[in-house]
């Protein structure tokens, strides 16, 4: 294993009224695609902005390409592509003007890719950027972030304003990039189906901390919903119960992460009328981030 591309250790970041990052530990190994999940206000954007050095932190340690974000060299900065949640592109410029402006900052710039994407995504080239739709601006932000063939992509809800076809096209672009250049990616999103397609690892965030970090496959395989008589599903039966509801008729509905032996135990409960179901990422999200 090589050193992680991004490493955050015990990071604190205060915003009015609370710690947006509250002793956060997070790291991303090279070549991995990590999905960052959490409810609004959990600290996802703050995490990404602090990792990039766009915001200072009160305490803790951040290393990106082995450097502290605030003192990063231009050479390392050029290895990063970033799509912010809100696109603050140069509204008075046309698309070619804006792209030419950014091109000047980077030693590497993939004109062929930029042209292909602006064409494929039908970005209007002649009008000022301020006149583009929200979806077009978001696509443009993605093009800008990909144009210098970054090794590390940081995407803060990159597809929130895109329609399903646009999202699928973007995912395909991302997949091709991870194949061709082994791009490392971290992206926050609320669109769980996208995450399910491309993320190898998921990190759940709550109140400024990462509360769960797992390969997606493992998470999906381990998490089960068990529904049956509460007497057959006593509290403490499983090590890691995420949620439990018992209705008035005594039927328990629990969500738990099961170890291998616990999985065998759970399937043996069928005889006692316990239903054992797979859990979609959406349910998992709701329970894990509560």
């Amino acid at each position: 294993m090589s050193a992680p591309l991004l490493q955050m250790k015990d990071v604190f970041k205060h915003v009015p009224g609370k710690y947006a990052l509250n002793g956060l530990d997070f790291s991303i190994p090279s070549g991995q695609v990590v999905g960052l999940l959490g409810r609004n206000g959990a600290g996802k954007t703050t995490l990404l902005e602090c990792a990039l050095g766009l915001r200072d932190i009160e305490r803790g340690e951040i290393r990106l390409f082995g450097e502290t974000p605030a003192q990063m060299t231009d050479a390392n900065r050029a290895r990063i592509g970033y799509v912010p949640q809100q696109t603050d592109l140069f509204e008075w410029l046309s698309v070619p003007q804006m792209l030419a402006f950014f091109k000047a900052f980077y030693p590497r710039w993939n004109d062929a890719k930029v042209d292909a994407l602006t064409q494929r995504w039908s970005i209007p080239l002649t009008v000022p950027i301020g006149r583009l739709s929200v979806g077009e601006k978001q696509r443009l932000a993605i093009i800008r972030a990909l144009a210098h063939d970054p090794e590390f992509l940081i995407l803060d809800e990159p597809v929130a304003s895109l329609d399903p076809a646009g999202r699928r096209d973007f995912l395909r672009e991302l997949v091709e990039r991870t194949i061709e250049r082994e791009t490392t990616v971290v992206f926050s999103t609320h669109i769980l189906s996208d995450l399910e397609r491309v993320a190898a690892d998921v990190a759940f965030m709550r109140e400024g901390k990462i509360i769960l970090r797992q390969p997606l496959d493992v998470l999906e395989e381990q998490t089960r919903r068990l529904v049956g008589p509460a007497t057959a599903l006593p509290i403490g039966m499983f090590g890691e119960e995420l949620a439990r509801k018992v209705d008035t008729s005594g039927v328990a509905n629990i969500l738990a992460r099961l170890s291998e032996p616990e999985r065998i135990l759970a399937s043996s409960l069928a005889a006692q009328g316990v239903r054992n179901e797979a859990v979609g990422l959406e349910d998992l999200f709701i329970e894990a981030t509560q």
């Binding site: 194949i179 399910e196 397609r197 496959d217 998490t223 797979a278 859990v279 979609g280």
Partner: protein, 136 residues
Amino acid sequence: MTSKPIPLATALFTVSTGAGEPIYRQLVEQIRRLVAGGQLAAGDELPSVREVASALAINPMTVSKAYSLLEAAGLLERRRGVGMAVAAQHTRAQAKSERIELLRPSLERAAAEAAQLEIDSAAAVQLFDRILKGKK
């Protein structure tokens, strides 16, 4: 070497999200069914990891994982310079008695749902029969 064209990834596989079933497992099961049913025979090549990942917009590691598991299970074999192909021992479709077992998980799910809906077995079987025959 086979001269049969390699099928398109989108013609072989469909991926569904939201059900809590890992995508690699969906691919594994789909390939198992295609081989069991004889649509994929010994020597038939599979689309490359890259093609599948890009066509379905899924992480390439997911596709590699599915292929590797099927290789370990002896269903696929890695061909030098070619990629993955259906292993030689699968010359013929499996016996019907074995193939029908692959339907079991789906039917067990359907049976559980029928029980919840309090639909008796005769009515459920009749519906399944109609569906199989392509009627409404």
